[in-house]
């Protein structure tokens, strides 16, 4: 058996071939085995794109290793292709010499045609740079599952388990987790459980006995930090973060949401947790989702709305109302390719300026961005903290890559999570004594420190008040058209948000020897690619610093000082340079960009190349 330090496997097949499930199972057994891992599912936007076409290909990539890793891997070492379309869609991404496991049963003339192959790629030499293993997966699966009594048409559906079994053998994965899962998942469907188990075993045995594979490999467990782990996707982590925030703030959670890819899973997950007092409301549209959440916030709940870009467009007016009403609200935007419907299932970071500025009037609000799937949990809690403490809407910018990607996540001890209930209080009594001695409640009399206004929820006797989207007078909060007051209120709202800078951590600079001249500044989901690239560049002897932002507005108070202290600043982003624009305008620093908007996460190699070219420029400048 040969030992590898890491391997990248991609399962690809038709949407109906069960590749996501195969990938998921491979992930779980690898996680339990103790590898570090990162996954990247990639599915078509159409639920049922024509079978056998390139448009209908669904894929799942997993990177496993014996050391800590940050990305799902740039180029797969192994491709499982269940049909010609899957081969066609993915062969271009493979590393030279990669292994391709083909389901040879699917390579008939019709399927080749549907995939758009003029000639059979197995025969025309186009695969000569790869190790191609042709395995009649359909036939072998049908044969293997016979004892289960499954009908042929259903039996064929187990071929993803055959493929999983084969790949599991290749990389010496433990089999128990898969059998346990099958037993649980199909507890009430003996026949399907049996068929899948048989198919899995057949795949495994095929690897062991067919003698077409030189050997199996092993990827040893990684030295992860001690602790209890679970495999978590960004969307699940966000949902759990919201549940946690409600518990930590001792407030009921209200989610107002409308289904949209790739955010719907947050709605699905939160809908399960009604025993935490979580109310989920699938609204008639995006606008109703956010307005309902705001109504709930007015009533004293932790109001949350989840969406993706097109929905954020629609919610803009209500977010403006939340800014004016100064009520807590968490708005989660799982960014996807835009504009318009764009690329619903693909990732992008192009909503940053929209989140910061996409409302009429002077309407600033805090924006936070998670950097990894697991970080989504903590970012949701941080968003809730800022919203509750400063009575403001907060936008969380996740994206399609974080949403569906997964990684092993050290489960935190609940006792170490911040007690949000101490960050805010609700008004219980009048807060102003008038000249005549009468006690009244002024809804816009601010806390001098945070500039937050009191949160007086209906049901509180004596604090009845009316608020709305019209400008309000500073203090009493009555409708006011006074120019001086409006100018003041605009500034107060801006100051309140800007002041949050003193309530968030300074940026941490990762610059081990403090000698780097190049700073790589990233935000959000590019964390993995940038960290991996920085590590690789350092291993080759170069000096480079890395700063990764979570707080996009306001920025940490030392960010200007930090970016100004480097000769060059490189900002890799999956957009055309939105953070770079902010850095330039805020700090007058001539930051450079690495910008790719292909609907895919940045690759480590992309960042490495960009770093190399920046270092080269530094050298030439220095001459």
């Amino acid at each position: 058996m040969k030992t590898l330090d890491r391997v990248v496997v991609r399962f690809a097949g038709d949407s109906g071939d069960g590749m996501q499930l195969a990938g998921d199972r491979f992930t779980t057994s690898s996680a339990i085995f103790g590898n570090d891992l990162v996954t990247l599912p990639d599915f078509p936007a159409e639920i049922r794109a024509p079978a056998g076409t390139v448009a209908g290909v669904s894929a799942f990539q997993i990177h496993i290793s014996d050391h800590d890793i940050f990305t799902p891997g740039d180029h797969p070492n192994v491709l499982v292709a269940m049909n010609p379309a899957a081969l066609k869609a993915h062969v271009g991404d493979l590393e030279p010499g990669a292994a391709i496991l083909l389901n040879s049963d699917a390579f008939d003339e019709r399927s080749l045609q549907k995939a758009g192959y003029a000639a059979d790629p197995r025969a025309d030499g186009s695969l000569s740079g790869f190790k191609v293993y042709e395995v009649p997966m359909t036939t072998l699966t049908l044969e293997a599952v016979k004892p289960s009594g499954t009908k042929a048409r259903d039996a064929e559906r187990s071929k993803n388990f055959f493929a999983l079994g084969l790949v599991s053998w290749m990389y010496s994965r433990p089999t128990e987790p898969t059998f346990e899962w099958l037993a649980k998942r199909f507890a009430s469907n003996e026949m399907v459980r049996e068929a899948n188990t048989l198919a899995f075993k057949a795949g495994w045995n095929f690897g062991e006995t067919a003698e077409i594979f030189e050997s199996a490999y092993e990827v040893k467990p990684a030295h992860l930090k001690p602790g209890t782990y679970t495999n978590i996707s960004g969307n699940t982590a966000l949902a759990w973060g919201i549940v946690a925030a409600g518990q930590l703030a001792k407030l009921p959670v209200f989610l107002g949401s409308y289904p949209i890819t790739p955010a719907s899973d947050v709605l699905h997950e939160l809908s399960k947790h009604k025993n935490f007092g979580v109310r989920t409301f699938q609204a008639e549209d995006e606008i109703a989702g956010v307005n309902a959440a705001l109504g709930a916030a007015y009533g004293g709940a932790l109001g949350v709305t989840t969406t993706s870009g097109p929905g954020l467009d629609l919610k803009a007016e209500a977010i403006g109302l939340a800014i004016s009403l100064e009520l807590p609200l968490v708005v989660i935007d799982i960014q996807r390719g835009g504009p318009s419907t764009g690329l619903p299932t693909k990732t992008e970071q192009a909503d940053l300026l929209h989140a910061l500025y996409g409302r009429h009037g002077e309407a600033p609000l805090p924006v936070v961005a998670p950097s990894t799937p697991g970080d989504c949990f903590y970012t949701a809690i941080e968003a809730a903290r800022l919203a509750l403490k400063y009575r403001t809407p907060v936008i969380v910018l996740s994206d399609g890559y974080l949403a569906n990607g997964a990684e092993p996540w050290p489960i935190p001890d609940v006792a170490t999570l911040p007690d949000l209930s101490r960050e805010f209080g609700m008004a219980t009594e009048p807060n102003k004594i008038l000249a005549d001695g009468s006690e009244v409640f002024w809804p816009y009399l601010r806390d001098p420190e945070t500039l937050a206004r009191p949160w007086a929820v209906p049901g509180t006797p004596g604090l009845m008040h009316r608020i709305g989207g019209l400008e309000k007078s500073d203090g009493p909060g009555s409708v006011s058209y006074d120019p001086v007051n409006h100018d003041l209120m605009v500034r107060l709202r801006a100051q309140k948000v800007a002041g949050i800078a003193s309530d968030i951590p300074l940026v941490e600079v990762d610059d081990p020897f403090g000698k780097a001249e190049l700073l790589v500044l990233g935000w959000g989901s590019t964390y993995g690619a940038i960290s991996a690239a920085v590590r690789a560049v350092r291993a080759a002897g170069a000096e480079v610093a890395h700063v990764h932002l979570r707080h996009m507005n306001p920025f940490p108070s030392n960010l200007g000082e930090v970016v100004r202290s480097y000769k060059r600043v490189l900002v890799p982003e999956v957009n055309l340079g939105q953070l770079r624009k902010l850095v330039r305008s805020e700090f007058l620093v001539d930051a450079q960009g690495l910008n790719k908007v292909g609907g895919l996460p940045l690759r480590r190699t992309d960042v490495e190349l960009a770093i190399a070219s920046q270092l080269e420029m530094l050298r030439t400048e220095g001459r």
Partner: protein, 340 residues
């Protein structure tokens, strides 16, 4: 209950300190008065009462009530109020809206609040015009209406708000008008007492941009012959001497007849509690605008669990089955493994 308990509050307690700023003579004043007079009678509590509105003349209403209130954004009041009512079933939430607010920009939200049967008392001030933006035609304006935005006459076919609400299977649907305080108060009282979404259309005169739109039916002289009062369990009958009545024809349409011709027994007996909204719908089609005899009163009042209560039931059920939420357990609910 007929016990006379002195109300704990008076009208004055329900009026805020804000100066009311509708145009002098606007029908909104009489609606405000009716509500302020009614609240003490209902025994309602100010701190548990919330008025939510959208945008438009009518939507200034919450500012004038000494309760909790939110003047939100155009068309969205039913959505915001839904969140509030679901999060806080202990409150009584009113929605104040207008024909443009509720039926044009916010049409979607109104329909969905009604079909879900959210526990809201929704009062729609219908003046058949956009007042706040100074006089454009609205979704209830009559076809051919000449306004600033329709100098050659509107081409739009108008909505009948009562028909619309019944089409959405609203559980409580009523109509009243701003010239009859007693009728308004009675209708609002019924709406308030209804559990679920209660929808009341109020014909309201905008004396600046659409003066007299309802005169043909609501002026004192015209009322007896032009308003068709709906009373549960009673034959539908009107006219100064009750000489007119309503029957259902062979197609199920409500038609006006002379009682002397068909006989009293042939008249339609109003049944607001009938499950099937078709009868109420037929009645709503009796008049296509305020120019011919128009039914007022409660068209429909049926029982159906309200949305907020159903949500509460699900929460209680989940808690009973799974126990109260345990965060540490949730974080360990997937496959876990330990690294030593």
């Amino acid at each position: 209950m007929t016990d006379l308990i002195a109300p704990a509050t008076t009208r004055k307690d329900w009026a805020s300190d804000q100066e009311v700023r509708w145009c002098p003579g606007c029908g909104d004043y009489s609606i405000l008065t009716a509500v302020q007079l009614l609240m003490p009678e209902l025994g309602a509590k100010r701190e548990e009462t919330v008025f939510v509105s959208g945008i438009g003349c009518s939507s200034r209403f919450p500012y004038y009530m000494n309760t909790y209130g939110v003047h939100s954004i155009h068309g969205r009041a039913p959505a915001l109020a839904t969140g509030l009512a679901v999060a806080r079933p202990d409150l009584h939430v009113w929605v104040i809206t207008g024909d443009g607010d509720a039926l044009s920009i916010g049409g979607n939200h109104l329909l969905h609040a009604l079909r879900r049967n959210v526990n809201l008392t929704i009062i729609l001030f219908n003046n058949q015009i956009y007042g706040l933006t100074k006089g454009q035609y609205s979704p209830t304006s009559e076809a051919g209406k000449v306004t600033k935005s329709t100098p050659f006459g509107s081409l739009d076919h108008p909505f009948n708000p009562v028909s619309l609400a019944l089409g959405a299977e609203a559980t409580f649907v009523a109509r009243t008008h701003d010239m009859d305080r007693k009728h308004m108060m009675e209708t609002f009282r019924r709406a308030y007492q209804h559990k679920g979404a209660a929808f009341v259309e109020v014909y309201q005169n905008c004396n600046v941009f659409n003066d007299g739109a309802f005169d043909a039916i609501t002026s004192k002289d015209n009322r007896p012959s032009m308003l068709v009062p709906l009373e549960h369990g009673k034959p539908v009958r009107f006219g100064p001497d009750g000489e007119k009545g309503v029957v259902l024809d062979a197609h199920g349409s409500a038609v006006i007849v002379d009682v002397s011709e068909v006989g009293e027994d042939a008249l339609l007996v109003h049944d607001e509690a009938r499950e099937d909204p078709a009868l109420a719908f037929s009645l709503s089609r009796l008049a296509s605008g305020p120019y011919s005899p128009t039914p007022i009163g409660v068209f429909r009042a049926v029982e159906r669990p309200d949305y907020g209560s159903l949500v509460e039931d699900q929460l209680a059920d989940a808690a009973a089955r799974k126990g109260p939420g345990d965060l540490a357990a949730l974080l360990r609910s997937g496959t876990t493994w330990t690294v030593a």
